[in-house]
């Protein structure tokens, strides 16, 4: 689907829909939203619709960043403790490594 072939309103609606879907803990949807509508939002002259799109794009971007930070933090913490062989980390592990902790 080419964004150029859609009308302004449809574009706004699409961006908005992606944003709303991404609220349900779907950071990749936000990321897609951000990437796809980036040129649309920031590299073209401003109009009323583009302002809205810009807003959604920025929100999606911030959202993805937030998720990225959360994932990285969790991964670091989890792997750090998992290497020590703690009980709660084992409880959250699907497949135990063999031959090492």
């Amino acid at each position: 689907m080419h964004l150029d072939k859609l009308s302004d309103v449809e574009r706004v609606n699409l961006c908005k829909r992606y944003f709303l879907i991404g609220i349900f803990c779907l950071p990749f949807v936000w990321l897609t939203n951000f990437v796809w509508f980036f040129t649309e939002a920031f590299c073209k002259p401003l109009t009323v619709h583009r302002t809205q799109i810009r807003r959604y794009v920025i929100a999606s971007g911030i959202g993805s960043l937030f998720w990225l930070v959360v994932f990285l933090t969790w991964e670091t913490v989890f792997q750090y403790y998992r290497a020590q062989g703690l009980v709660w980390t084992d409880y959250l592990t699907f497949v135990f490594p063999k031959g090492r902790i």
Binding site: G99, R100, I101
Partner: protein
Amino acid sequence: MWPFLLSFLVFVSHTYGISTKDDVNIALSVIEGTAGYRILNGTNQFGAHGDGGSGDGVIVMVNTSEELVGGLSECWRSRFPDYNGKYWVFLPMDLLDGSVAEFLQNSSCIAGIVLTDPSRPHHVYDQSPFSHDSSCPNDVSSWYREERGSCRNKINRGAEIPQGLRNVEWKVLMVYMKDPKQLDLVKKCYGLFNVPEDGSTSRSFPLCGMSFGLFNSAAGNSQICFRRGLENARIYAFNIDATAIPLMCNPLAGQNVFSWPVPAITGSKTEQSSKYMIIATRLDSFGLIPDVSAGELSVLTSLIAVLATAQAIGSSLENFEAAVNRSSRFVMFAVFNGESFDYIGSSATVERMRMGVFPLPQMNVTHIQPMNLSQIEVIIEPQQIGSTSGTDLFTHVDSDRYAKSKEPLDRILNAMRNGAFSAGSTVRPVKEGSKVPPASWHSFARGNGNIQSIVLSPFDDSYSYNRYNSMLDQNTWTLGERTKAISDISAAATAMLYAAADFTRTNVSNLKVDDKFVATLFDCMVMSEDWFSCNFLNTLNSQRVNKSFESYSYYSKSTFISVSNGNPLRFFVYWILVYALGTNRHTTNVKNKKSCMDLSEHQAVRRVAQDELLTVMQGIRKNTAQQYILDGTGCYRFKLNEMSVEKHQTLRSPPTKSDPKFLKTSRRTPSYEQFIGPQRHKNERLQFARSNMATDWNKIIFSDEKKFNLDGPDGYAHYWRDLRKDPMYFSKRNFGGGSLMVWAAFCGNGTVALSFIGTRTNSQDYQQLLAQHLLPYLRRRRRANMIYQQDNASVHASNSTLAWFAAKNVVLLDWPACSPDLNPVENLWSVLVRRVYANAKQYTTVNDLKRAIRAEWDGLDKSLLQPLVGSMPNRIFEVYSYDWQPDPWTGKYSCYRSSIQLVQLQSPAFSIEGYDFSNTTYSTWTESQYSIDTLNLFLIQDSSFDWIMLLIGIFIALFSFFIVGRCHESTFVIDEGEVQAEEGEPL
């Protein structure tokens, strides 16, 4: 262009000396047990573990420690200047001493070590320090608090490194290569390719290298590894197979033998006042590579002394019996297993005694009285007999306890002195402030404050034998040394014999240790290379146990406890004790194996009686004040095909009202011996006895569960010891290609039922299964009073299942004692497996497998099943066990009656729910599961050859793209039609 390229290629291959004639590619099989693997305890992991990555290395053989240290420090760079990888070092095992061990640990250029037989023969008085144990073997499990954790009392001065070579986490692999043929192959390859030629000091490619891999599953420590194997270890188990989570480590557990020359029987007047003396020894030792441990002085000499004492008592059993019955003072022989791993056997025994279930729980039949810790007065243990050139023996007692109660111990010490004197040795008096060296007594000391100890040994303050618990505990014996050792053993045996006689108030005048017996056992066990080379043991064995090349502990002498299927020494000890302490006087007209097995004091049939239930419950509750879980009298049989999680979770709460399995009444059938009357009635009585008891085993319905895979039986997967083939621990299909859990039941009269169950069943599923398959069968044969047998899996023994059994009036078979022979169900499985997978058949769908299994099952008939049932030895013993075995001197079979129990014990740490593994009260040693690759010899080429060839290949590819890319499209179109048509050619 092309000729240039071709000539370049020819030039390159010449330079690198490639030729197909020159290739070495030899695969050597590594027998299970000859490679070092990982063992773990409560807090650490130890043992050999390669990185898992490349186990490749160039072979280097060293014979002196200078060579080794010199080579290590420069990674053999001067000899192999072009090579950058790792090495496999071949060295004789007596080169691996403390300093070398440190070097090896810190070196980063070794892939692995291959140990070969010692460079020179070792004799018994050799003082070189090669013990692989630590200098304070008891710093975890000692009764003396000040010894724990601090190692102030260095008793093992022969230890190579203070913490013990066993307790090191090696980053390299280790293999013990003993086969001279294999060594010759390696030497040949080495000589051809790795030795610098005359005139030069270095050698370049190709080099002789080898690869070997041993991959351990477990890591961290016992707690982590064990916990991960439990079913509730994770939120969700990602297992497409839907099998039980495989355990990655297994607790060390071994068979212990207990024997009573005269058993204390319930209901007799000796019931409450009996006192015990335990004559104990151990069955296990270890080495750096755990299985390679001949244990000559660590185990065998003391073991022979104890067996000689037993035989001496057995040879005048009537006097002994009379004295014991008069005085109510009994003797028990205990051969513990696992003592070198923080007292596994003895601590488990003490646990059982505390719960009142040793050797059997209180039952409402005549049986051996359960032993109580307070009944034990003294434990006598011989250690390292024969390790000094003198004839002095020292007695070690615990001075505090000795001071509290001098007289009884003095009597025994006096008797020991007399005994040793009569055999030519002297027993030195007890020293001031004497402490007990590492011995099984320490477990008992924790259990009760009054149990005394006498450790009889030729060493005084510290060990005089410097190869205690070591791979090098194997000696060459001259004739003189042999004679001396035999006389040492006889002296120790006589001392213990006199002590036992004095304790039981027997007259010693007729008691004498049989020197020929000692000499024979010495030749059979200590002098020989394996357990199968001498007549005495072979006759006793009579083909029941075979020398198998699949495992080092059967192929050669090994005394490592391992996990259940350890060395066959335990069988020999059992049979020797049956022969020594058993009698065949009472069974002279038992002419065949079947009748011998039919003999039993009481039947296996039991029914529930509510009031007895309550009595026993109260008794057990009194004994189990803590929240320990009663594990009953069951054996932990670690079946090879099912290192099942359930074994560790046999967490049964104390029996409740609905627990028929635990408590029984008996039908009071008089013993066969009481029927012995005048000769002419004997036969009639025999008939009567037989008709009442003969059909017992046919009334038992045996049941078991087994997992079948599409690709092959699951009998080998879990323990991962694949030996001669390429690593095939994963079949070609993911996750073994699907599997099927089969439950089957059969009895002597035919098959009962077969059903396919899910791999994770709970009690309800099991009950439903039984309702569907077992109950109809029982209903049809209501009058036959059949008994159902099942193993101690948690689902089978859960409260709801036991209640269900009671409600449906199903009688369960009590299964208290282990026997060295196989369970008939396992025989049946092997038959079925052979038929289902005949001709290496693999199945494509589970339904096909189901159909095949059912077809084969239906094809089993009574003629196959009868002998399986008939082979059941008598294992249900309450007072006496009847064994059909040959006299080792003459080979004549007879039915021996003896009071003996062979039981597998594991550390109580694994049966206590929620046990904290960092707690050192009990042994926490486990052994990792591992898989072995074959050892391959091959030629290592210069790796730069690969790079150059790769570059040439890339260059040619690019070149060809470039050339072809410049062509016009039309060059690729081969069609002359249009052109010719345009030119006017007719078609």
